[in-house]
Amino acid sequence: MTASEQDFKNNPLGTETTLDDVTDAFEFLDDWEERYAYIIDLGKQLPAFPDEARVEENYVHGCQSQVWLIHYFDEDSGKLYLLIDSDAMIVRGLAAIILVALNGKSPRELLTTDIDELFESLDLFRHISPTRGNGLRAMVGKIRDIAAAEAA
């Protein structure tokens, strides 16, 4: 693993930036332009992803954009930390929302979080619906698999 433990723990998404922050922000966004500008901004908050980790085993297969995912399980605190990268800005922003919801939680806590419901409430469900080949759904599936393996 090339990313250090600190790289994972320094990720503000899900720790400093909380789900309440995001859902509150969404309430004040009037039109699609503001909503997507906010999503794009969130994407800019994704921490740098180590170049060495852009390898096949960390690649999440989606049709259009490239998505990478790595994780670190902290035995002491029992929390799972995630880093995600994508070459598409909106996918990065949506990945940031997923991290806000799932990063730095215990695997059990993570597994009880309903991402579909969250995206539905933000009116973003279409982006993770099975009809969109952008890799986000596969990414959520992969995160849940990792959590299930750590929880076992």
Binding site: W32, E33, Y36, A37, I40, C63, Q64, S65, Q66, D87, A88, M89, I90, V91, H127, G133, N134
Partner: protein, 417 residues
Amino acid sequence: MTDLSVANAANKPAFDVDAVRRDFPILSQQVNGKPLVYLDNGASAQKPEAVLDAMDRYYREMHSNVHRGAHTLGDRATAAFEGARETVRSFLNAESTREIIWTRGTTEAINLVANGLAARLKPGDEILVSQMEHHANIVPWQMIAERTGAKVVPIQITPDGELDLESFTSLLNKRTRIFAITHVSNVLGTVNPVAALVEQAKSLGILTLVDGAQAVPHYQPDVQALGCDFYVFSSHKMFGPTGIGVLYGKAQLLEEMPPYQGGGEMIERVSFERTTWNTLPYKFEAGTPAIAEAVGLGAAIDYLNRLDRQAMEAAEANLLERANQLVETVPGMEIIGTAKQKVPVMSFKIAGLHPSDIGTLLDQQGIAIRTGHHCAMPLMDFYGVPGTARASFAFYNTLDEVEQLFTALQKVQRLFA
């Protein structure tokens, strides 16, 4: 029949895009609160009322299985089904309906031909394709190459997206058995000079297949003038239903090819000692065919025949010209594919933006385009891009829609600034 069509041609009205749009009910809807601007015709085109009506009427009034005789509905269904085959024959100017095989689409047609020709291939033989092919005109050949020891060789293209004719000529050799080329590139819009290419290949005894999937929405090909051995296309890209396509093949070659699938319809007589094949075209049509879809495709061709082709092509050229003029209004936008002969297809990239971001934010504005690799990964590799955004126009698109696309692209760019 001939006299009648001449009379109709004289009475054809000038091309009226507003009238034409009223023939396509799906176009008059809102998407994400905005009027739909459908610019993904290269992926699949919309259907005129005439096609919807023909299929509806077929199921309401004449549906039965075909070629089974014995009752009136069967006769009606068979007449409609075979009538559609004749419509396709006439559309392509093929010699005989024996040369018109129904398939599920372009992809199945190419697989059928590849399998049918496999027995002719020996190790070291070459199948010539091009760098701009859709995967459907690469992978079936790779599969039979693997089986037979032949190899698939790509013709190079120029940075403009034209076929490199020197590369083509230099690659033709004694081992070349098959030449399979797209008529029109799905990504670049390039119209290849297929008649000249086919002539050159044929002079060396090479079998030729032309993938017409992206050509038939814009042109009416004449297979006898092109001289190719096979011409294939899908219905759904030329305003007909999904699930059906056409393989045109020269009768003699089709006679020599083995059947593709076994089952009902394609046999003459079956016994456990010996089974014999039905005559053309039925030899290649195992199982109950897509009858309503064939009728729908026939209706689509009839619909196109009622339009003024010249006026339609001129209108399409205007769309592309307007789009090209507006490129400079979006800083960093670059067209991929600038061949001299193009259908109205515009692949592009915008510096700093991922195609999927462009697609998502255009969709928010009611504009449908395609983003991604367009099933042409070797072509993406050539241009060094993961994918492109592609706006593909049809004759029912308007100049106003072209302008809306560019206004929307400017908005996308502002959001990322």
